[in-house]
Each structure stands twice: as structure tokens, then as C-alpha cells.
């Protein structure tokens, strides 16, 4: 009986918050690991076409090429003709080889042979521009390409 009375006196023990930092840190580490900071600043409009027969892109071995009309805030300076962007700047079609070789060098050495070129092209662009890029890629012997698309289907609308 004595035991019970003793407990009553102590009241409800406060919940220990000592493990709270641990829990929060765990979450923190999770998000730190999965976070990919956007490394490319988009300079072109990029509304991707729709497709549903898609494969996943292996991110560690890819080089991005963007193409499309310059974004609204750059249109004054660069006009409305479609442009190619690699990395953080506009690239001319003649300069693509250099820019791509440079971009490839940033990948891990063992993955450089397996490089995959991801084409993020605005849907309003002409196919001619894509063909030009593909010709340059063939010259460079970077033959694996992937047209990045958004989920959906052109027929069902």
C-alpha cells in the first residue's frame, strides 16, 4: 500500500524530450541525402512533350541539353529564336562539342564511357534543331540519348 501512495505524490512524470534531437537529426540526414540541389539554372522555356512509353534516366551518368525559346525575362536580350543551353549558358550549335566534352568530364571517370545524353527540349521547338544536336552527338560518339518527357499522352485529349 505504501508503494501506491508514494507514486501519487510524484504525479505524472514529464515526457522526456531528450530523444527529440535524435529523431530530428535522423530526418535531417534523410533529407540531406536525398536532396539534389538544382544545378542548372534554366535559361530556356521548357515545357516538355508528353509520352507514356518511358524509361527511367540514370542520373549519375547523364549530361543535360536544354533547348527552346529563351525564357521570358531573357527574351529582350536574346530574342525569341530557339536556343540550346548546356550547363549554365547558351551554346551555339557549332560550340556544342566543346561544351559537351566539358560536361562529360564532370562525371565520374568510370561512368564517362556510359554517358547518356538527356535532351530536354521544349515542345514548341522544331525537329530540325534536335536533328542538328543529334548529328553533333554522333560526331562525338555519344550515341545513347533519351528524350525527357512528362507523363501523359498526346492522343488522349
Amino acid at each position: 500500500m505504501a508503494k501506491f501512495t508514494k507514486k501519487k505524490e510524484g504525479g505524472l512524470p514529464p515526457v522526456s524530450t531528450a530523444s527529440l534531437p535524435d529523431i530530428v537529426f535522423m530526418l535531417l540526414f534523410f533529407f540531406m541525402v536525398v536532396t539534389v540541389l538544382r544545378d542548372d539554372n534554366l535559361l530556356v522555356m521548357n515545357k516538355l512533350p508528353k509520352a507514356d512509353q518511358v524509361e527511367k534516366l540514370k542520373k549519375d551518368r547523364s549530361v543535360y541539353i536544354y533547348a527552346g525559346k529563351p525564357s521570358a525575362r531573357y527574351q529582350e536580350k536574346f530574342g525569341t529564336e530557339p536556343k540550346i543551353q548546356i550547363g549554365d549558358k547558351y551554346t551555339d550549335i557549332t560550340n556544342i562539342k566543346f561544351a559537351l566534352t566539358e560536361a562529360r568530364q564532370k562525371l565520374l571517370p568510370e561512368l564517362q564511357d556510359k554517358v547518356m545524353v538527356a535532351l530536354k527540349v521544349d515542345e514548341e521547338t522544331n525537329t530540325g534543331m534536335v536533328t542538328d544536336i543529334k548529328q553533333e552527338l554522333r560526331d562525338l560518339n555519344m550515341l545513347k540519348i533519351i528524350y525527357i518527357t512528362t507523363p501523359g499522352n498526346e492522343v488522349e485529349q
Binding site: P49, L57, R138, N141, T149, E154
Partner: protein, 214 residues
């Protein structure tokens, strides 16, 4: 013996700091999943005089003009009919039984195809080539839509064969392999994939676009 205890650092604010960082990473995280249609470009080879002759009946020519209109084997076609037409062409199996080209798994395309095993269409899936010709001014949207429909046609047929042989759809098989969710023998699965791919090899040729206006 006055043992002076070292004063403990107050760790009460640790949680706050961690929360701050957590919220920062939460906000900046974009779990990007890029997906798309993968293609292998033909390697650059020195031009040869050797001509590859493909019979006209084994060719499925898809022409896209600059108004984004489709011309399939000289007939105007809507995009929504392209998939069916491609399936019917690939799966035609026009070669008669007994010949070397005979295709024993072809079903003559979709069930409602009126002209199954048409001798004027492709001999077998291995011979059948789809050729896409674009104008330089074709929109990229249309280009991808056409590619998507053609890949869909291949996937439909591969799914069918895969279902028949292994009871598992081709697209689901390759997806399971891609995501690493498949627990069994991965090499065996890869082999199965290759078998199905061999039944319907993807033969998509792309002509260099004509100059606009020609």
C-alpha cells in the same frame, strides 16, 4: 575534496537547430524523376556503296510534314490510328507457312484487323522496318508523339508474347529489373527480356530530315 564538476553545455537548443536545418532541406528537396524515351543513335560510319535492299512491303514509312500531318504508306492518317497501324504491320507475318521467313507467333495484328497475314505487308517482325521521316519544321511535340506511338506498338506486341511465354508482361518485367524490386534470378530475367526483344526487334529507322520547302 571539492570536486568541481565541469559545467554542462546546454543542449536544449540542439533540437531547434536541427529543426531549422530540417526545414531548409525539406523546402529545397525536389525528388526529381526524369523519365523519357531512350534511343540509340546510329554510329557514324564512312559512307559505303553497298546498298541495303529492303522490300517495299517490309517498310512502313511514316512521314510527318511541317503542318504536323501524318502520311503513313501514302495514306493520310490521324495520330490516334498510328499505333494500331504499326501493330498490324509488325505483327502481319505475311510469309507463307513452310518458308524460312514464316513467323509462327504472329497473329496478324489486332483482333479487328480485316487483312490478317496480308502477303503485301511485312513478312515477319524481324524483317519489318519502320522508317520515320520528318520535316525540319515538324514540331518536337509531334515528333515525340509519333515516337511514343511507335514504341507503344512494340511494347504492345512484346507484352503479348511475354505474357504468352512467361506469364508476365514485358514492360512490367523490365520495370521490375530497372527498379531492382525483382528478388529472383536477375540474369534469368534479363535473358527472358532478350528472348522477347528478339521476337520483336525494334527496327526504327530515322531518315535525315528533308530541308524545309523541298
Amino acid at each position: 575534496m571539492a570536486r568541481r564538476a565541469t559545467p554542462e553545455v546546454n543542449a536544449g537548443s540542439m533540437a531547434d537547430i536541427a529543426f531549422l536545418l530540417l526545414i531548409f532541406f525539406l523546402v529545397t528537396t525536389t525528388i526529381e524523376k526524369d523519365k523519357g524515351i531512350a534511343r540509340q543513335l546510329p554510329p557514324k560510319e564512312p559512307p559505303t556503296d553497298e546498298k541495303v535492299i529492303i522490300k517495299e512491303k517490309n517498310l512502313f514509312i511514316v512521314n510527318v510534314n511541317r503542318q504536323d500531318q501524318l502520311l503513313v504508306d501514302d495514306n493520310l492518317m490521324e495520330l490516334k490510328d498510328l499505333r494500331k497501324a504499326a501493330i498490324n504491320f509488325l505483327d502481319n507475318g505475311g510469309a507463307p507457312a513452310g518458308t524460312a521467313e514464316y513467323c509462327n507467333y504472329c497473329k496478324g495484328g489486332m483482333a479487328d484487323n480485316p487483312n490478317k497475314h496480308n502477303p503485301k505487308s511485312s513478312d515477319n517482325p524481324d524483317k519489318a522496318v519502320i522508317s520515320v521521316q520528318n520535316d525540319r519544321l515538324t514540331s518536337y511535340k509531334m515528333y515525340i508523339a509519333v515516337q511514343n506511338e511507335l514504341v507503344a506498338a512494340y511494347n504492345y506486341l512484346r507484352d503479348r508474347e511475354s505474357q504468352r511465354l512467361y506469364g508476365w508482361k514485358f514492360t512490367e518485367m523490365s520495370k521490375a529489373l530497372d527498379e531492382g524490386s525483382y528478388k529472383g534470378d536477375k540474369d534469368l530475367l534479363q535473358e527472358k527480356l532478350e528472348v522477347v526483344q528478339k521476337l520483336f526487334p525494334q527496327k526504327l529507322s530515322e531518315a535525315e530530315p528533308k530541308k524545309s520547302g523541298s
